[in-house]
């Protein structure tokens, strides 16, 4: 009798396993298919895209869309600027975040608790859009590259992740031993804390870099000079506001192509804009997960 019910439980578990597997496969397909469709469309001909023939694979394979994208000077300007903001911005972020996180990890520093509170308070209350805008304007940063690099120099969340990592993974005894040997706080920071913080530095570098690459808000608020625009601003003009330079729609025979090319160009542009992030994604995936885990530890 008992054995029978045990068997039934097993089989109900099997049913659950099969049902969940099916559901998860469907979820995977639903999430991935839009991206696959966009990828396939970007390599298809305008006719195929306009008449809705593209499903899973490119139809009438061409690079027309990509040619149109790369003819566009704005895209190149945007790519260049975004790379610049990403590299320099991330370096500034890292320096500032580490400079903040290390002293705040030291409970023997008087005032550590209150300064920490000062940082965390900004996570739930802020001056808001207009006062910040006025500040940037008064500092003379409006329409300069600095407005892309300085205002977000420290992400409080990243600073807390870094601080938590330093507290949890660098033993206190090490500091005491170093102090006995006459090591100053500067030296300890440079020679011990930084080398031992490799994993968390990797994590926040990724967070900051992707953040810079994807951000459009600061540029939208503070920049009006086209030569300074990051890629995301140009993307918005083309993908969202539908403002497409007429020059782009002239094909290699010098004819103005139909509306179709404008649509094809958008598909290709989505691929071009996302490729850098997608390429590094497999390599960084496990770091991101690690970052989530460090951040989850209450600081």
């Amino acid at each position: 009798m008992k054995r029978k019910s045990f068997k039934r439980k097993i089989s109900s578990d099997k049913v659950l396993e099969i049902v969940l597997c099916v559901i998860l496969v469907v979820v995977g397909i639903v999430v991935a298919y839009p991206l696959v469709n966009i990828f396939a469309s970007s390599f298809s001909s305008t006719e195929a895209v306009m008449s809705g023939k593209v499903w899973l694979f490119p139809v009438d394979f061409t690079l027309e869309g990509y040619e149109a994208v790369f003819r566009n000077n704005d895209i190149w300007i945007g790519y260049r600027n975004s790379l610049f903001y990403m590299v320099l911005g991330t370096i500034i972020n890292l320096v500032m975040t580490l400079l903040a996180a290390y002293p705040l990890s030291r409970s023997d520093m008087p005032g550590q608790g209150s300064i920490m509170l000062l940082f965390t308070f900004t996570m739930i209350f802020s001056g808001g859009m207009i006062p910040t805008y006025i500040l940037i304007k008064d500092l003379g940063m409006l329409n300069t590259v600095w407005s892309m690099l300085i205002p977000g120099a420290i992400g409080t969340h990243n600073m807390i992740i870094t601080r938590t990592f330093i507290i949890n993974s660098i033993p206190k005894e090490m500091l005491e031993a170093a102090q006995i040997d006459g090591c100053s706080d500067f030296q300890y920071f440079l020679k011990m804390v930084l080398p031992l913080s490799g994993p968390v530095i990797a994590v926040i570098t990724l967070y900051y870099a992707v953040g810079h690459w994807n951000s459009y808000m600061d540029a939208f608020m503070y920049l009006s000079n086209k030569n300074l625009y990051p890629l995301q601003i140009f993307l918005r003009e083309i993908l969202v506001s539908n403002k497409i330079d007429a020059d782009l729609l002239v094909n290699e025979f010098g004819e103005v192509a139909a509306q179709g090319l404008a649509e094809l160009l958008k598909y290709s542009l989505i691929v071009v804009a996302t490729i850098p992030v997608m390429i590094i994604y497999p390599f960084v995936q496990k770091h991101f997960v690690k970052g989530v885990m460090i951040g989850a530890v209450k600081g």
């Binding site: 991206l35 400079l99 802020s126």
Partner: protein, 311 residues
């Protein structure tokens, strides 16, 4: 008595002196914090002033609660409040629950290949930028060249109506595109918590004849509940501050009756026609204060009910 006090303050002075290098390291970040985060808070005073460019933040004339009265009398006030609450509560509910369900399902399945594949695929959209995300939606839901148009044509034989022209559709597209983008990533934290949970509990339950589904309800869900509550509190903090960027990007002339929320209104009142920085700041401040009260209240309630809280 006086002596011990003096000793104490001398002790503090000594400790401060000993930490002098730490303060020096912290100096730059602290200056940054005060200038870029706290100075704008002082700038909030222009909500109570008639901001003029010549007067600036400090020199403009005081105006009392003029702009708050204006806000409450604004004929758009009710609409943007309702829109903000509707959008954020809908989004709060769905975006809190979906990652939990996904994590429970992934944890439940034994087939590691499917597990890995689904996790990898569902993280991916998290790294797509908001602009591209909205661009993807514009393309996919395009009734003529998009996937949505193609599918509808196969099913009904004709091109569908433009979904961007339907105000209610904004709501669902906003929320479910958020799920598409972030559910997988937000599930990571729960999956890790489940993987690290006490396996002896599962073994004991299995010996007692509990089915997998029963173990989900009696072991898995209680395991991640504290984390879910923390996430919920954090999300509540964002209820009123719901993303300007995405709503702004998705907004068009046809869906404004649903897509005009407080933050987009703040932007328009400042930089639109007849922009007024003081009025706009007043709206923003009103929003921040409600937000602040909400997060404190939820934290307090959660502390009482479930003994889980942020602080």
């Amino acid at each position: 008595m006086a002596k011990t006090k003096m000793n104490q303050s001398r002790g503090l002075a000594k400790r401060i002196y000993r930490a002098r290098q730490l303060y020096l390291i912290l100096a730059l970040p602290l200056i940054y914090l005060l200038v870029f985060k706290y100075y704008p808070m002082l700038g909030l005073q222009i909500a109570f002033k008639d901001y003029s460019i010549t007067g600036g933040i400090w020199g403009s004339e005081w105006a009392g609660f003029k702009y708050f009265e204006k806000l409450f009398k604004d004929y758009n006030f009710k609409k943007i409040m309702i829109n903000t609450l509707r959008l954020s509560l809908y989004s709060l509910g769905i975006t809190t629950i979906m990652p939990v369900i996904l994590a429970l399902a992934i944890n439940c399945v034994n087939n590691t290949k499917i597990k890995k594949a689904v996790q990898t695929i569902t993280y991916l959209p998290h790294f797509v930028s908001l602009v591209v995300m909205v661009g993807i939606m514009n393309q996919l839901f395009n009734p003529i060249v998009g996937l949505y148009g193609n599918v509808m044509q196969q099913l009904t034989g004709e091109r569908p109506v433009d979904i961007f022209g339907i105000p209610q559709a904004f709501l669902h597209m906003y929320v479910w595109s958020g799920v598409w983008q972030h559910a997988g990533y937000n599930a990571v934290i729960y999956i890790a918590a489940l993987a690290g949970s006490d396996q002896e509990l599962h073994e004991a339950a299995q010996i007692d004849g509990a089915s997998r589904l029963q173990r989900v309800f009696y072991i898995d869900i209680p395991t991640i509940l504290p984390t879910v509550i923390i996430m919920l509190i954090l999300n509540v903090g964002r209820v009123m501050g719901i993303g300007f960027e995405k709503a702004f990007l998705m907004q068009n002339a046809l869906n404004q009756s649903y897509s005009e929320i407080i933050s987009t209104y703040v932007y328009k009142k400042a930089f639109g026609a007849a922009g007024n920085f003081s009025y706009s700041t007043a709206i923003g401040l009103f929003n921040s204060v409600i937000n602040f009260i909400l997060i404190i209240a939820v934290n307090k309630i959660s502390k009482k009910v479930s003994e889980t809280s942020l602080w």
